[in-house]
C-alpha cells in the first residue's frame, strides 16, 4: 500500500526536479516519468525576455489535485506530483514539473502526457509573455 499522497504545489520559488521526483518515490514503482517545462528564449519567431505567471491559487490547486487523482486512477499510477511556478520566470527557469511513478514505464509516460495536457487546458494559471517589443497574455489575444 502506498502511504504517500499525491503532491500539488504552486510556488514563487524555483521548482526542483529532484524534489518533485522524490515526492513520487515508493518501493512499488519501477518506471518514473517527469515532464519539465522551461522558459524558452523564443516563441513563434520572436525573442522572449521573460514570463510572468498569475494564478487563482486555491482553485488551481483544486484542479491540479483532480488531474493528479485522475492520472493516478486512469493509468494505475503509484503517485503523481504537479508543481507550477508563479511570478516572474527568467529564461531557462522551470515553469512546471509533472512527476508520475508507476510499476511499468508505459503508464508513467502516458500519465505524464495526460497530466500536462490537462493542466494546460483546465488549471487557472495565466502566462504573460514578455517580448522585446511588448507583452501579452497568452491565449487571450484578439
Amino acid at each position: 500500500m502506498v502511504d504517500k499522497l499525491n503532491t500539488v504545489l504552486i510556488t514563487e520559488e524555483p521548482l526542483s526536479v529532484e524534489s518533485l521526483y522524490q515526492q513520487v518515490q515508493v518501493p512499488e514503482a519501477g518506471g518514473n516519468c517527469l515532464f519539465v517545462g522551461t522558459v524558452r528564449n523564443e516563441n513563434k519567431g520572436k525573442t522572449v525576455t521573460h514570463l510572468e505567471f498569475e494564478s487563482y491559487i486555491p482553485m488551481a490547486l483544486k484542479e491540479m489535485d483532480k488531474i493528479a487523482q485522475s492520472a493516478q486512477n486512469k493509468f494505475e499510477l503509484q503517485l503523481c506530483a504537479i508543481g507550477h511556478r508563479v511570478g516572474t520566470c527568467k529564461l531557462g527557469e522551470i515553469a512546471v514539473i509533472i512527476a508520475c511513478s508507476s510499476k511499468h514505464r508505459k503508464q508513467a509516460f502516458e500519465a505524464c502526457q495526460f497530466a500536462i495536457d490537462e493542466l494546460k487546458k483546465h488549471v487557472p494559471i495565466w502566462k504573460k509573455e514578455f517580448l522585446q517589443d511588448g507583452s501579452y497574455w497568452v491565449n487571450s489575444r484578439p
Binding site: G37, E54, K120, I125, S140, P142
Partner: protein
C-alpha cells in the same frame, strides 16, 4: 457581490475585484452578460469562464450572492 479578476480580465477591468449588484446577476449567464455589457473589450480580447466556489460553473448555475466568484480567461499555464 465580489468577482475576482485574473490575467487579461484584471487588465480589462483595471482591478483584481469587480463589485456587482447581486440582483443584476442571479445566474452565471446573467453575470457573464453583465460583464460583457460593462466591458465590451471582452468580446474582442478574450472569451472567459466563470468559477463559483473554486469550480468551473455552467451558465445555468444560480447565484445567491454568497459564493466566491471569479472570471477565468483562457488559461495558459505550463
Amino acid at each position: 457581490m465580489k468577482v475576482r479578476c485574473f490575467g487579461i480580465a484584471r487588465e480589462i477591468i483595471g482591478s483584481d475585484e469587480l463589485i456587482v449588484d447581486p440582483n443584476a446577476a442571479q445566474s452565471v449567464e446573467e453575470l457573464r452578460k453583465l460583464i460583457i455589457q460593462t466591458y465590451p473589450e471582452f468580446e474582442k480580447y478574450s472569451s472567459f469562464m466563470i468559477s463559483v466556489d473554486f469550480e468551473y460553473a455552467k451558465d445555468s448555475f444560480q447565484l445567491t450572492g454568497k459564493e466566491e466568484i471569479a472570471i477565468i480567461p483562457p488559461v495558459s499555464g505550463g
